[in-house]
Assembly symmetry: D3
Homo-oligomer: 249 residues x 6
């Protein structure tokens, strides 16, 4: 059940049985010469929607499509929230969903650069309750889609070299499977991009001139992307089920 | 050109000619017994994407899908930002787009409840420059899709009674045209919903028990929706062209 | 009863019968070559105090005299709050008044540029309650003095042309009636000022070099001002009575 | 020259010679059984306006009428800003005035409870410049009206006992001189109110049941008030002149 | 009992009898040519730890070592919080300690520049309760170590001239007693530093080129420091006892 | 060189050669039945001070002793900042140090719970520069002391089982070496504490009743602690040297 394509009475009815909601969350940021700017929010959306197609008992929120991408701002099309803004927005999403009775909020994340801020936000939210020694009405979970059981293993098998950490062939492949008419090509030079630390936008552009980090996206294909999607969607269904079944102490 | 389906070099190249970007912005909130929760962000997205299909010179950002919907929070599935959070997030979107060289940022809005906060945000952004008597690098414009030239006239012709102001037949029709497999029906009672002031969530639910205000959405149809989309998309193209051509004093 | 000229036991006693308080709110900003910088906060103060003189059962708070005037900052004497500051201040006023038992807080506004931010603030305040699905202890209302029943009609009759939207002859006239020794004159050129969009301070000054928008303030006179005050004060008394009598759902 | 009763060209012209502006600042809060709720903002306003009448070269801003009065909130009519809000608002006033070319901003304060927050705000403002090692464009000064040279001495002579620190006979007298038709009386019990620490609102009300601290306001009279006003206004003129003449290192 | 050198069960047990906690608070900022940068946080720490050594029933929190020192930022090694940050941090310390059952929180302060912001913070904290007319669970107290009964008298006897207000011989002496191997010397010129107002960092450095205000630190000695510490520690024990014994109204 | 035990001229002189500063950062929070509440800020302080003793060219700031410990608030003595407060405070430390000319700021961290918020803060700081496409004046680095090269290997060798992740024998040992007179003992039950996710304070206490996670602190000894300190201090010297030598692109 996709929230945005449902009516409120439908969500209301479903809340009698299901207290878990999945929020695809990512970023809109450069993904090298050929990657789509929406890659990091479309990947978790693609996977969550695929899972929902298989198992309609899943409730999926609209996609949280802008995250923490300050380091990519020297590349056109990147849109970033400051961490403090990102925290406020996540907090309001959680407050809204929690008010309706969702007791487990599962963020399926598509951007490594979001992780620290999302975790800091969880602490900010929990702190409200911890300072008054009350139990919060909801449990929060962050899962990167590539950390779903089995996914990293598959990606490593598909792309044993040149996977890298930004504009990776696996994320490019996922978007190719979902948007085959938007596949772009380029002569990557070097074939495998360099690696290094991530700091501010100018530093990033100087280190990684075409935007990639450690990756060779030329290896991506729609078929490989579909394989990843299928595995990830199945893993997501199981992971959410476990999270929903978890007993609070 | 949809930013999220483009690569950064494509946006970079286009920025040589085009300095205007369209941001579809709305809300995810209840729309009565049959309206989709995503109606208010999907309508401007549908119209903007339709316009972009016609005129590929338009640059369309990802959709800003969560807005100010505190009054709808007593209905499941609504997700709202506090106005202060909404302001921070819009500001960061503007800062990001402006940095890339977009000098005209056009918000195509789908939610009346967003208007005050978006305008307050424009003032907050402009104030940064006004306090130091410098010219801001960008001009901001807010346009509700129903205020595009001709659109309200058409909606009034299509729905002379029972248009109302929330869960209107025109917005329902737009989503029916775009998502025909998600059309829902209900026995509306009363046929035309009541009207009244908008305050907090409990007050809202007490006044408007099924969520509608003044509307009879049963009049919606995909064909009427398509008619609205076609007119609105054409009007959007002209409106954006005028905005882009405007000379700053 | 003017709060600032009363003692706390007087307010305490009156709160047994009256739960409504009027807050005159405006802005301190340029009003063209002849208008007083205080025009926008003095107009609602003048009208509210006139009403209170007639009907002592009204409770009038001190005047909130600085609002959102970033666009006027290129003219000396303008003082503006950022929208975010304005929101925080209004919120604290409301919290204070609400704590004393005022259940209806009526803002009589004198500045069009305040409207968006005041409405955003109402949403910010209501959101606190909406997120926890509780009824707020107070109802908030915004009324521009020119929107009091009958007032715009009178202004249009008095000034059929050249009323405009900033430094209007009607607001100038109101201050002339109240401060006859502060009437100033100038050779306006052009007689009727231009119109256009409102953005940042430099843009504003370039478009509207002497500060007026669309107005010919030379038409103002103390007598016309008094006529407006009399009508507006009477309308205010009725409007507040209606607001106080409104039943919450 | 009172800013709110002037036009922008008048302020503009005056700024050629005068770079100092006086901001009367106070609080709207209970002042015992007979004191006016507006006492703390009306006193500095009364004194500043009296000085301006004598010496028209003074530029006086509108009165900042709501301050930090959280401890008085258990008494009806009190309106308080949180310190954080108060700081934001003062900052925006300073930014506005500084932009116009005012290089010396002199706050004439009427409320002891404001002092800490105003000083913290000065540090917050200066910090913006200190962190970047630049000279701020303005110098800020806080002066309580009772600390104007000679004033405390006069008050002690007029009221050798029972002056106290809240709802003092001197501040009551000042308002009596200015608003003789609003003089109120009561049987104070005890004649001289108790003293003690100031904490939260309930603690305050428990310690000081009628709102006074250490004072016997029955000693106030309009004549004594006028004597204080005259002395304070003259001292203000000299104090501002000294501040304006001060050479920055 | 020093919290940071205790285990949680030890604090838990002690909380049965003691509801008061001492927080040494200061600043890390320049203290003239010879003073240690940590002087202002080490002095209250030294005194509080000396008191705790004598009377183990005292509970002492870790030292809050960075305060409001924007005016010292033109001297290397100074670290300052903005007042708004300082307020947020103090608030969180208070919330944490209060949650554990500490009902009296006693800040032993070592920096005059902290006073306004700490007091503003107390008001910010109390305001949370005052706005809802509830009693806060804790009482807050600020005491500068030099205001402990008897201390200023002793300092005046030890240093009848050239005590000054920054980099004073008394605070230098206290650190000399505690860190005798870190005593530094210099040829002070002038022997007694100038005095004047405190504003931003550049203004400060221009007025007080070597950082001192009105002081002659050459008079300091470890023996004098020890005398001050002994007196202050004893006075602290009595002051805290009085504070703990105070009955809330 | 410890900043707090130096004078400003000493830091000033040293800044000619050294542009790197080490900030020990941690948390004050429960560490099981026997661990000191200060463990997480004392460990990096102990290691950094040990390194500075060996290599006086290191510049060490005062210790940032309160971090993000909301999950420990159900245990007495824990003091936590909200993530948003923590971010503001770190930002001000960085602004202060950067102003003096420190171009590399190295945070030696002692608390795993700080990592996400510190990294989010780095992004918040960098974002200021990224949004305007300027190079920030400083580079930031976070290093947990247990991630210094070789340290985790040593800890695993010393404590092959029952190391766990909170109140670990290695951190307890480090504090035992530094504060041998504060060694505490207890009958741990179970010997090795349970493991699980970290959420809010009540959840934490329910899962980990005595505060430990996965650890058996009984294995700690001062000798083992000294071994860790020696290795970590040496590794820190090398790590800082590498960081200082790093060439910016």
């Amino acid at each position: 059940m996709l929230i945005h394509l449902s009516s409120w009475p439908e969500i209301d009815a479903r809340l009698k049985d299901t207290k878990t909601v999945i929020v695809p969350i990512g970023s809109n940021e450069q993904h090298g010469p050929t990657g789509l700017l929406g890659t990091d929010w479309m990947c978790p959306e693609i996977i969550a929607h695929a899972a929902e197609k298989t198992d309609d008992s899943l409730i999926v929120a609209p996609t949280f499509n802008i995250g923490m991408a300050q380091h990519h701002l020297a590349f056109a099309g990147t849109i970033s929230l400051r961490p403090s803004t990102f925290m406020a927005a996540i907090t309001d999403w959680v407050s809204s969903l929690s008010r309706h009775g969702f007791e487990r909020i599962y963020f399926l994340n598509g951007h490594g650069g979001n992780v620290a801020t999302i975790e800091a936000t969880f602490s900010e939210i929990y702190a409200e309750w911890s300072f008054v020694e009350e139990q919060p009405p909801m449990v929060l979970k962050l899962r990167n889609w590539w950390d779903l059981p089995g996914v990293t293993g598959l990606c490593n098998r598909l792309f044993p070299t040149g996977h890298g950490s930004h504009a990776t062939p696996s994320e490019i492949a996922v978007t190719q499977a979902a948007y085959p008419d938007r596949i772009k090509t380029a002569d990557y030079s070097p074939k495998i991009a360099p690696s290094g630390p991530i700091r501010d936008a100018l530093d990033y552009r100087a280190r990684f001139p075409d935007g990639r980090i450690g990756s060779d996206p030329a290896q991506a294909s729609p078929a490989k992307g579909q394989e990843i999607i299928d595995l990830a969607a199945a893993a997501l269904i199981r992971d959410v089920a476990e999270f929903s079944a978890e007993v609070r102490p």
